[in-house]
């Protein structure tokens, strides 16, 4: 690990789990051996109650990662400064090790879809997105990680490869990249490109975290679309792509995401243990 990684990454290159309400009690009681806990920032936009009670307790035991889904970075609406204010308050209260958002947009004209919508990858959108990331980083006074999303359509208007878009964004703004290996796999299938080549093209030094997740397959007449559903185990092909990412990008803090049809904590921990085993295997081979 380079010295730059050591500074940029207060979380070790080890496996973490998403912290969800259904698991609060058990995680608090059992303190499982995971490297970090990741939460959706917006789930803590309330002022008190159960979510903050557990996050305060667990935040003293584990490094935290705040993963945002609602900032609508790519939108042409003005950034929601109230949203950003609340994120800043939370950042200052909990001092998470990582703060991340998505290369997407979710709102226009004040209407929110609360989904991660595909951004045309153009010089116009790159300028726009860079300015927004600059603004967020200056308001938060820290580095933001930007995640590659799953998409279900490509826009003819897009002129820049997603890897080039992310690499340039990182170079311009100093933001990090959250490499979601499942999203790479989903997009590679949906848009018929080489997932390995995507991993090889991403700027490894900028990647500060890796996500893994499960997806579902939707069959249409003649076609298949993968949907990033976060509701099932990580499939073998995505584990394989993760190994490829470890080889090309290097070991990074790795999160297994699971948001709906949440399994028992043990199954989630098994997944984290598998990611950890692959990280260790990578180190053994690299040594």
């Amino acid at each position: 690990m380079s010295s730059r990684d050591a500074i940029a990454n207060p979380i070790p290159a080890d496996a973490g789990i998403g912290l969800r309400g259904d698991h609060y009690r058990r995680v608090d009681a059992e303190r499982p051996n995971v490297a970090f806990l990741e939460v959706h920032s917006e789930n803590y936009f309330g002022r008190g109650g159960v979510p903050h009670y557990y996050l305060e307790r667990l935040g003293t035991r584990y490094p935290l990662s705040f993963h945002g889904v609602g900032l609508s970075l790519g939108s042409t609406d003005p950034l929601d400064e109230n949203h950003l204010d609340r994120l800043r308050e939370l950042e200052q209260a909990y001092r998470p090790a990582l703060v991340s958002e998505h290369l997407s947009w979710s709102s226009v004209g004040g209407v929110f879809t609360n989904d991660l919508l595909p951004l045309p990858l153009t010089l116009e959108s790159l300028d726009h997105f860079s300015r927004r990331v600059d603004h967020v980083q200056s308001r938060l006074g820290r580095r933001l990680l930007v995640e590659n999303p799953s998409t279900y359509l490509e826009l003819t208007d897009s002129r820049i490869d997603e890897t080039e878009f992310l690499n340039t964004l990182a170079a311009r703004t100093g933001c990090g990249i959250l490499l979601d290996v499942n999203n790479v796999f989903v997009c590679a299938t949906n848009h018929d490109f080489d997932a390995n080549a995507y991993i090889e093209a991403i700027d490894a030094d900028s990647v500060a975290e890796i996500h893994l997740a499960g997806h579902v397959e939707n069959r249409f007449d003649g076609g298949t679309i993968l949907i990033d559903s976060h509701n099932r185990p990580v499939c073998d092909a995505v584990w394989k792509l993760y190994r490829h990412a470890l080889a090309y990008v290097g070991p990074r803090p790795t999160l297994v995401e699971w948001d709906s049809d949440l399994p028992a904590l043990d199954e989630l921990l098994d997944h984290a243990a598998h990611a950890r085993a692959l990280l260790e295997e990578h180190r053994a081979v690299a040594a």
Binding site: G48, S75, H83, N114, D115
Partner: protein, 271 residues
Amino acid sequence: MPVPCWKNTVPSLREFQTRFVTSLFDDDPPGEELAMGIQENGLSATRRLAIYRNNLLASLTESLGDTYPAIRALVGDDFFRMLARRYVRKHPSRSGDLHAFGEQFESFLAGVDEAASLPWISDLARLEWLYHLVFHAAEETPLDVAALACIEESDHDRVVLRLHPASALTWSRFPLTDIWRLGIHGDEGSATVDLDAGPAYVLIARRKLEMTFQSLLPAEYAFVEAMTAGRALVDCAAAAFEVDGEFALGAFLGRQFALGNITGAELADRD
């Protein structure tokens, strides 16, 4: 390299986003211009957009159901999905924070013809929305009743009590908390509710981590309502006495402190 002439018609980012979101809320197939901007690559633009349309509806329906679990259980998943579908179009989400979504469900339900046979449903929506707000409201340390002893007797008329911020007041002509319990616990409790067993006056309260419904008498409701308006203790008491001349002020106040409902006592300025 010459720019192809169609390039001039490629929508700017703003126009693209406006068209895209409009199409997600529209059941008709997208217009030609939007379809032109989507690579079909084995699957039609309409089909591809439908994935986003379904995701939008599914996630907002789930969010609405998480906020209104009793209504969802009582009306059933199919009817709830129909309600959510209409609600999303009429009152789309206005925030990147999904906790803010669903505030108008009470007023929306009042206008749903198919729900007219469920006269309690709007009141239950109000209860569940307030429950949701109280669940996420700020924590505050309850005040010990001994603090009142420090106040000079000459100042008693200008004492203002502060209600715990994780509190909300509502009432209904129906037995609202019984209906809520039926929805949440289903067959575990009594499987039917006597709709004539109302009215219900309820303080929804979170004390430490526990959500509770405190059942109030009409005079007590009047007292707490005046307290939430920031009125002085004497005025709150007067509001309660107006409803019930026999209102037992001392016992009621003692109970409010014991329940942790009071988090502050200040002296209002003299007029």
